[in-house]
Symmetry: C2
Subunit: 371 residues, 2 copies
């Protein structure tokens, strides 16, 4: 895998990931200089404000309000540039591209906060990284439609970016995710994911870390290994499995089609995977995303969240790498909303049984054939 | 205030709240017998499943999938019944009605769980109460449009139901809320709110209780009193205030138009309010909901969540009664979605500045005139 990094006219970095070497898994070439990336305009500063009632940070990123909203396919900023139209990628073709988000919530060199905080509610500059990962140059090639090899390449790119971003001293957590579909609020359709480097371990991850640590201390076992093994044994909620990964709708799913992809082996991060595991993960990601699309014969919206250990040197050997999908659909045409009980009190209500949804989805999946 | 309770043909209870006495604040009449309410059908059982990775319960309520979805106005189940159409309320007129939810997530006498849990992921019957509160017999009379006296009546009904439901031994938390608008997933437009009696303190409330308790232990002061006083002093985020309540967009708002209504006096529950406070709360609820509607000249969707202390006899004197609004709009036509960062990692990104949104809303509010 070869990286070629350029600076865009507005100062952002962009890297082409090319798979022309014989060894795809070794990264060569020049990575972007993230630490010294210039600030994206004074009017684009964002900040973190502390919420003392919930004990959580919230980011304010006002310039994002103006972000590009569902442009026509001819004017897709993520398609290769042509003579007629210049998008964000200044070349006529590419394989996989990583670039700084034009409307970042977090920046390596952020501006000062717009308001002064207080002792109870401090503010800090929103330091971090927001990158966009373009899965391919083809405008409508979602993971569900992509060749499994392209997904394998994507996993190699995620891993390469994780290795680079965790070197940044301010980066405490590297979060790889994808928002897919207008039902999730996606404003650009060209298949892409995102990578955030947070300056703290975000609360949802901290909850999982705390529960995992407690379980290991109490039992000597990994919580997620135990849950995965129980799901594989029960089988009722398993959607598909291969040599190294299981995909199931978890026993206590919040969303009707929530799904977890969990490694059989106990490891913590993207960087811990063997080549066999990377290939199996590519297979199972293809199987699941294509299965979702087959279910209602429509492009299936989802949030995909890669959950791995924080990037600090602390011991997180109790934690377990996995990927979570939260699709907002409860039927072909109906959405699951987070309403009063979920948003106001925190009790999620799932209108379906995980066992039933797993059976539905299981009937639709078909593992891909590698070339 | 007089309560008149009846049993519907499907066994559910329904209570009419009538304001014909000279003293509205004293409740007379017969309350429904919630504790011995019959189970709503075997096919309608729901259960609580424990999520050991997040340390939270999730409710599965499969029958809700079939709930009535946006019927035409002529067939509104919450309008008074006519000769031509029988809705859920079997009378030709009413003032305020409370009835058991036809599609409850929690029931006083639930069925047994559909699956057996495990030591790590136990299941329990979903015991609790789900009530619907019909704000008036008029099909389109939202809080924004209602006379302020009707909102005052509603607060009296909330308080009466809170007093009744907290007597149930299994009820650990009484949650009053409203989901408004299709953008929130509302399936019936007739203005109504809901009351849930949860069999545990839900996680969002527990977070606030923990932070409030810690702050009081450390400083001797109430956290929410301190935050409210700071907002009133700063003024920039205040939308409106009266003698006993302040309404502001909080410093660390997650949603562009998130708003908190906080009592100036330190108290814990609906039952602690004086008549003057109940009337001021009615005024400020009217002011805010009408202000929201004026903002974009459209019926403004929101989640409204009443946050009060749990209903057990424990000492919650450190906590502070308030109402939170989470509107999903970020502009007249654009929605704020919970996507990867929010759902997958837990960092909320607010695309706007609370100071700017408060000024917008402040320019639109006008306190109501009492008759």
């Amino acid at each position: 895998m070869r990286v070629r990094s350029v600076t865009l006219h507005d100062g952002r970095y962009l890297s082409y990931y090319e798979f022309i070497d014989s060894d795809w898994t070794a990264t060569t070439g020049v990575q972007p200089d993230v630490a010294s990336a210039p600030r994206i305009g004074d009017d684009r500063s964002s900040e973190l404000r502390w919420n003392p009632l919930l004990g959580e940070w919230v980011a304010t990123a006002t310039h994002r309000q103006d972000r590009t909203f569902l442009p026509p396919a001819d004017f897709c900023p993520f398609c290769p540039s042509t003579e007629a139209f210049s998008g964000e990628v200044p070349e006529s073709n590419y394989d996989i591209v990583v670039l700084e988000n034009r409307f970042p919530s977090l920046q390596p060199n952020p501006g000062i906060p717009s308001v002064e905080g207080s002792e109870l509610s401090p503010t800090v500059p929103a330091r971090g990284v927001c990158e966009v990962v373009l899965y391919s140059s083809i405008h409508d090639l979602t993971l569900a439609d992509a060749p499994v090899q392209q997904i394998y390449k994507l996993i190699l790119v995620w891993t390469s970016r994780w290795r680079e971003l965790k070197k940044l001293t301010f980066a405490k957590y590297i979060f790889v995710f994808e928002n897919k579909g207008e039902a999730i609020g996606v404003t650009l359709h060209h298949p892409h994911g995102q990578i955030y480097a947070y300056p703290f371990v975000p609360p949802r991850i901290q909850q999982e870390l705390d529960a995992s640590k407690r379980h290991t201390e109490e039992t000597g076992n990994c919580l997620i290994c135990t849950l995965r093994a129980a799901e594989s044994r029960a089988g009722r909620r398993v959607v598909t499995e291969n040599e190294t990964f299981s995909a199931f709708i978890p026993f206590s799913a919040r969303w009707p089609y929530e799904l977890h992809i969990v490694s059989r082996r106990h490891f913590q991060t993207l960087g811990d995977m063997t080549i066999a595991e990377q290939k199996d993960l590519a297979s199972i990601l293809k199987t699941i995303t294509a299965g979702y699309d087959a279910l209602f014969e429509r492009s299936f919206p989802y949030i995909m969240a890669v959950h791995q250990a924080p990037s600090s040197e602390e011991d997180y050997s109790f934690y377990h790498f996995h990927i979570e999908f939260y699709p907002p659909l409860r039927s072909a045409t109906k959405l699951k909303f987070l309403a009063g009980s979920e948003a106001g009190a925190g009790l999620f209500i799932n209108d379906t049984l995980p066992e039933v949804k797993a059976a539905e989805l299981r009937a639709r999946v078909r593992p891909p054939v590698w070339p």
